[in-house]
């Protein structure tokens, strides 16, 4: 139950967008082992037969991420993700009918408390009264809970890698089972997404607050990234942290979570990826049997916000006790845009591997950086995203010099300094990365489900590489000149507070 931190998400997206192409015959070979179908209610399956070992990996990919959240409810995609491990009407309860009524009352009480708390002039006494009432009902709701029965049952049957993630673009749930227990996955997975239960909702929010403290509040890089995206975007919800703003997490209720579920967890918004030692016909039979009766519902609403053009450079400095970080991001494109592949390759030319431009100059030659990175598709890639560069300066290096060097390297690309050999090299590596990623059931199940869920075709995992092949040196130069301009950029950094200043304060 993890919320992928923005950095992690960025790196994963980096991998996926660089996953890549294989020759046509490889795709044909691969295609022989893939079965795809869509149920009448709109739920899609992509199944890869790969009988290396008697195990199967399952991924349920929902085309909803934190970018889809309503105003005032940031973090709700991730909260729902946590709730999906709490069981269902069938599992995790001693008496579902009574329990569901108590949960309803608990939510009413919490909303009463919220209403009082958010008044301009809350009455302390009433507030306390309402909180006690809420706690009283919450305690009663706990009497029906069979602690972690859902996850425990799965793990007892030998599951491996039981977890989930939420990113700006998507939510995915996954685990692997011995191949003879596929039906267990079908019955439990269908169950939890057909009739979710908001069991232990408010205790789980405490856990999510702890997650936020670990990943963001108490982590220098977490703080920097949260600040960075919130400044870089002015309208698009990519500005919000995946885990949510603290007051939104507090204000989210069970009613909100169920509305979110009704809206986005409809079959046409769900893609299931399965990879391993499977009999595709049997999988199809189970799919119809267990997921066939999920009501079709209305198509999930689309996100139509467009980030307006930026009018000038944005810049901020966090002064604190931790060591320095430097970040510079430019508004780029969404991943289906014709320029997306050129920006991906440009990121690799700048910072992937020991031959890349930033590594050669900043890490090896000038020794100004411990590390430097550049990639496109941040904080998500489905909508217009940022091309992000970052540097971890070595000790005593001036931030002004770091920035000047980075800008010089970008300027060189704009002037057409990139050589054909560099472009060829990053393409070769992209192809090899794709091949290397084909050796894991769980990785494959996720890649295929994502490609099918996001791009309506699992083949894009491979055909994306054809597009990389079409990128020319002229394209690299052009995209650098188009997007990497001053008024389109955000600069943010952590600067280490000097001890003296602390003493003076």
């Amino acid at each position: 139950m993890k919320q992928i931190s923005l950095t992690m998400a960025a790196f994963i997206i980096l991998c996926l967008s660089h996953t890549p192409y294989i020759h046509a015959q490889d795709l044909e070979e691969f295609e022989k082992n893939v079965t795809e179908f869509t149920l009448d209610n709109g739920l899609s399956f992509v199944i890869l037969k790969r009988d290396v070992a008697p195990v199967i990996s399952f991924v349920t990919y929902i085309d909803v991420g934190s970018a889809n959240e309503p105003v005032g409810q940031t973090g709700i995609a991730h909260i729902f993700e946590h709730m999906a491990f709490k069981g269902s009407a069938e599992i995790g309860t001693t008496n579902f009918e009574e329990e569901i009524e108590v949960i309803r009352q608990m939510d009413l009480a919490y909303r009463e408390w919220l209403r009082e708390k958010n008044r301009s002039n809350p009455n302390e006494e009433k507030l306390e009264e309402k909180w006690e009432e809420f706690e009283r009902i919450q305690k009663r709701s706990q009497e029906y809970v069979v602690n972690n029965e859902f996850t425990q049952f799965i793990e007892r049957e030998g599951a491996s890698g039981l977890n989930a993630f939420t990113s700006a673009d998507a939510t995915a749930y996954f685990y692997s089972l011995p191949e003879n227990k596929a039906e267990l996955w079908f019955t439990l997975e269908a169950d939890r997404f057909k009739q979710p239960v908001m069991r232990e909702f408010y205790t789980e929010k405490d856990i999510i607050f702890e997650e936020r403290r670990s990943r963001t509040d108490s982590s220098p890089i977490g703080r920097l990234i949260e600040e960075f995206v919130s400044i870089a975007y002015s309208a698009h919800p990519y500005m919000n942290p995946v885990i949510g703003w603290p007051s939104d997490i507090e204000n989210t209720t069970i009613k909100d979570a169920l509305e979110f579920y009704e809206t986005y967890y409809v079959p046409s918004n769900i893609t299931i990826g399965i990879a391993g030692d499977v009999d595709p016909d049997e999988m199809k039979r189970f799919a119809e049997l267990y997921f066939g009766d999920m009501p079709a519902g209305d198509p999930a609403p689309q996100l139509m916000v467009e980030e307006p053009e930026q009018r000038g450079e944005r810049r901020f400095v966090i002064e604190e006790s931790s060591q320095p970080w430097f970040m510079m991001g430019f508004h780029g494109v969404e991943e289906n845009h014709p320029d997306a592949k050129a920006l991906d390759l440009l990121g690799s030319i700048l910072a992937q591997g020991r031959t890349s431009r930033l590594y050669r100059r900043m890490v090896v030659e000038e020794q100004s950086a411990l590390n430097a990175g550049a990639f496109s598709g941040f904080p998500g890639s489905k909508y217009q995203s940022l091309f992000l560069t970052y540097v971890l300066p070595n000790q005593g290096v001036d931030m002004g010099d770091v920035e000047a060097t980075l800008l010089e390297e970008i300027e060189k690309v704009k002037e057409g300094d990139v050589r054909q050999s560099e472009l060829d090299r990053v393409r070769t590596n992209a192809r090899a990365n794709l091949i290397r990623g084909l050796d894991s059931n769980s990785g494959l199940a996720l890649s295929l489900a994502e490609a099918a869920g996001k791009h309506d075709d699992w083949r894009t995992v491979f055909t994306d590489m054809d597009e990389l092949n079409d990128v020319t040196l002229e394209d690299i130069k052009r995209v650098a000149n188009t997007y990497m301009v001053k008024k389109n950029r955000t600069v943010g950094m952590i600067q280490t507070e000097k001890d003296e200043e602390v003493t003076i304060n």
């Binding site: 972690n148 030998g158 220098p220 411990l370 290397r436």
Partner: protein, 479 residues
């Protein structure tokens, strides 16, 4: 695939559309599990002592070579902490006379090839991952890196600059501060198992030291090499025999790591980090060795305390019921080469620090005060036994396990033995092991957190010892 065939056949006969009902999760019956074909591992040894392990796997057009090096930072004195890992860093980033750094990187990255080296406390590693068509061209490059690193001065300086930069950043993340400082609390600052690279030890390291350590570590009698991928074993064997024939033999290193010097006592230790709103807590004492008749009972105890992703007591109680943490963990470590740690810990909001320490400690005490439930033990065993199928989920996993067992001097059937013993573990065994190996009253507790938010919550645990982690460390004992 016989099973699935016959099932399809039955369905064909029965008629597909006959009514079929959904089955509840607890009413399912399962067919027999397909078998994993454990691949044969071809092994051979050269006169120079290198031992090879080969497994063909033609699923993808790749060849991976993984080297285990019989050496480690345990061979390095306290004045030169950091030498071992610096040596492997410069082996790769300094290149050789024939393949200097810049050319080497272009050569490798033009073919999307990867070569890396590393050195841990009690073993080293090397790896070469290439597309199969590049194997013959790149094998000599890899061998040259293993055998003839140039250790150029400018790349040594670069490695030192980066390592210094890393040292300066080591206090930024509270979780890594906590696990690092807890190791020091258990093993001691000057101990092989707790010591840190400091600016001073780094500046003591010379090029000659690297050359000497490389010569001790990367010789034939200290290398085990595993190769998996798309090749034919007989041809590969010939190619390797030829390529490694003149590799120097050297002397075999003994993995005799010193015993841990430990005295049980309790303490409460604190590190102030004003920029956090969450306390990271570790508590525990010294752990044990893998070679122990109670190993299986202790593993079962670990599984009950914190097993699975969500199934252990700590997750159930401290996380799910009390909502005190996203992350909570605990385990009695049984290491092969030297004693592990017994530790448990949690990350929790500053205001709940005291409550969280008690909540975790209560779960440890509970293991000693009452026997675990029969059903609880049964479920813990099932989790382990039913997931055994994931032990081998690829051909390379078989090879990795074999090499690791041999490296550590474990018998080939050590795992099977453990599983047999695990099946026989009783609630009494766990009760006895918990009382024999764990001392809840004698734990060292470490809290990394925000002093102004935590207030006096730690006072109930004794006289708080504040640890200064300023870099470089304040006056340490002279050797």
């Amino acid at each position: 695939m016989k099973r699935t065939l016959s099932i399809s056949l039955i369905w064909l006969i029965a008629g597909f559309s006959l009514l079929e009902a959904q089955t509840r999760y607890d009413e399912l019956t399962y067919p027999e599990l397909n078998e994993f074909q454990v691949p044969d591992i071809e092994t051979f040894e050269l006169d120079n002592g290198i031992k090879f392990y080969l497994v063909e796997d033609n699923e993808l057009p790749l060849i991976n070579m993984n080297v285990i090096v019989r050496a480690g930072s345990f061979m390095i004195s306290n004045e030169k902490v950091g030498l071992a890992s610096m040596t492997t860093q410069v082996m790769r980033n300094g290149g050789t006379k024939k393949y200097p750094e810049e050319e080497l990187n272009e050569l490798l990255e033009n073919r999307a090839a990867r070569m890396e080296f590393g050195m841990g406390l009690s073993s080293g590693s090397g790896s070469m991952n290439v597309l199969k068509e590049d194997f013959n061209d790149l094998l000599p490059v890899f061998i040259d890196l293993l055998k003839n690193p140039a250790f150029p001065e400018d790349k040594i300086d670069l490695a030192k600059t980066r390592t210094r930069s890393g040292i300066s950043r080591r206090n930024d993340n509270a979780q890594s501060v906590a696990s690092r400082e807890f190791s020091q609390l258990i093993y001691g600052e000057e101990s092989l198992y707790g010591r840190l690279i400091e600016y001073e030890t780094l500046s003591n390291i010379t090029r000659d030291d690297m050359i000497e350590f490389h010569e001790q570590a990367f010789t034939g009698s200290n290398l085990m090499i595993g190769i998996t991928g798309d090749f034919s074993a007989p041809q590969m064997k010939d190619a390797l025999q030829e390529a490694f024939s003149d590799y120097p033999k050297g002397t075999r290193n003994e993995l005799d790591l010193p015993e841990v010097d430990y005295e049980f006592n309790s303490s409460i230790n604190f590190i102030d980090k004003p920029d956090v709103n969450q306390s990271v807590v570790f508590m525990g004492h010294i752990g044990g060795l893998r070679d122990n008749p109670d190993y299986a009972a202790l593993q079962a105890m670990n599984e009950i305390l914190s097993g699975g992703s969500f199934s252990g007591r700590l997750m159930q109680t401290v996380r799910s019921e009390m909502g005190l943490a996203y992350s909570v963990f605990g385990s009695y470590q049984s290491n092969v080469q030297y004693k592990g740690q017994f530790y448990a810990g949690i990350s929790t909001r500053s205001s709940a620090t005291g409550e969280a320490i008690n909540a975790v400690r209560d779960q440890i005490i509970r293991l000693q005060e009452e026997k675990v439930g029969e059903q609880e033990l049964e479920e813990a065993k099932e989790r382990i036994l039913n997931s055994l199928v994931f032990r081998y989920d690829s051909k390379s996993s078989v090879l990795r396990e074999r090499m690791s067992y041999e490296y550590n001097g474990l018998p080939a059937d050590a795992f099977e033995k453990y599983i047999e013993q695990l099946q026989d573990v009783t609630v009494d065994d766990i009760y006895r092991a918990a009382n024999e190996y764990i001392q809840p009253g004698n734990m060292r507790v470490l809290v990394v957190g925000n002093a102004s938010e935590i207030g006096d919550q730690l006072d109930e645990f004794g006289d708080v010892n504040e640890i200064d982690i300023t870099i470089p460390r304040a006056q340490r004992e002279e050797e």
